[in-house]
Symmetry: C2
Subunit: 162 residues, 2 copies
DNA sequence: ACAATTTAATTAACGTGTTAACATTATAAC
DNA sequence: GTTATAATGTTAACACGTTAATTAAATTGT
């Protein structure tokens, strides 16, 4: 039987005594969105300063990296692979074009589409940053271990299907 | 010895043949930040429309939820628990105060600090949304299973320590 | 008590996230 | 072939993320 309420007693939570945390069906699930955010931030806080030194945001870098891998992509492909919504991507690409890191050409077969490619300075920026980036990957692996990383990736991919 | 380059050959990637994906030490690690993003988005895409019906963003809702649990918190405590940076929190609290969902009182012992509390309409909003929210939690559990959720949470917490 | 330092919260500036509406071009229906 | 529909990318509006600078108040050292 739960103890009687003492309304005059000091307290710093409102957790109802009739519904302790251990019985709630979704206590763990409730924490998932923030746990994902915190884990991601733990990683990004390593990459961000390094990218900032070269005047890149992580999203700008994701676009650069993808264009380095695929040589040419249209906006829809970039949006899907970088997981960036079209309105954000429009702004990011405009920024990178202004800085002469990326160029666009209109597709001749479908004039609604634009094909994006790294410029020479864009490729140079990629090569310049890459070593630092790999250093961080290795630190993560050293801390966490490849097995756990793959286990985690599997779970995340499955959750992403939801 | 790597094959000769064929500059005229069609291709859609630039992956160097001398360094196939299976040998790269960080292929999995490289995918972690986006995998975390995608997993989180899978969850948030369920919550967002429901919150939007009541004119809440997920961040605003996080603040409401925390004030419901803890009854009164200062900005620093809210920032830490909701994982929201102080400048964002300032704006969010200003918004919620304008809507009379939250009130602030200056701490008498430390006049730099402000203590925030839900108003009656704030508590009402919380109660109104809560059932929908729990419904989504249960859907997630039904899809993913509690064991996997707890396993995933453990891995995420460990990664967050990095 | 007083100056220097530290801390809590805010402001400023810029970039991104999110939704809705829009212009342009392709495709489908008829 | 013309009209209706769908798809690609952009614009607009608002909220949040991120870093640096700022204000006000507390704390420390002397």
């Amino acid at each position: 039987m739960p103890p009687l309420k003492r309304p005059s007693a000091p307290r710093d939570t409102k957790s109802p005594a009739s519904n302790p945390a251990s019985e709630l069906p979704h206590e763990a699930t409730k924490a998932m969105p923030i746990a994902l955010l915190r884990a991601r931030e733990a990683l990004m806080s390593r990459f961000r300063p390094m990218l900032a030194e070269h005047d890149f945001t992580s999203q700008q870098w994701r676009v650069i990296r993808l264009l380095n891998e695929h040589s040419t992509l249209d906006a829809a492909q970039l949006a899907e692979k970088a997981f960036i919504l079209p309105p954000s991507l429009t702004r990011i690409l405009a920024n990178l074009e202004t800085r002469d890191l990326v160029t666009r050409v209109q597709s001749s077969s479908d004039r609604r589409r634009y094909l994006f490619t790294l410029t020479a300075p864009g490729e140079e920026a990629f090569r310049k940053i890459s070593p630092d980036r790999i250093k961080v990957y290795k630190e993560i692996e050293a801390y966490f271990g490849k097995e756990k990383i793959n286990l985690l990736l599997g779970l995340l991919d499955e959750l992403a299907q939801f």
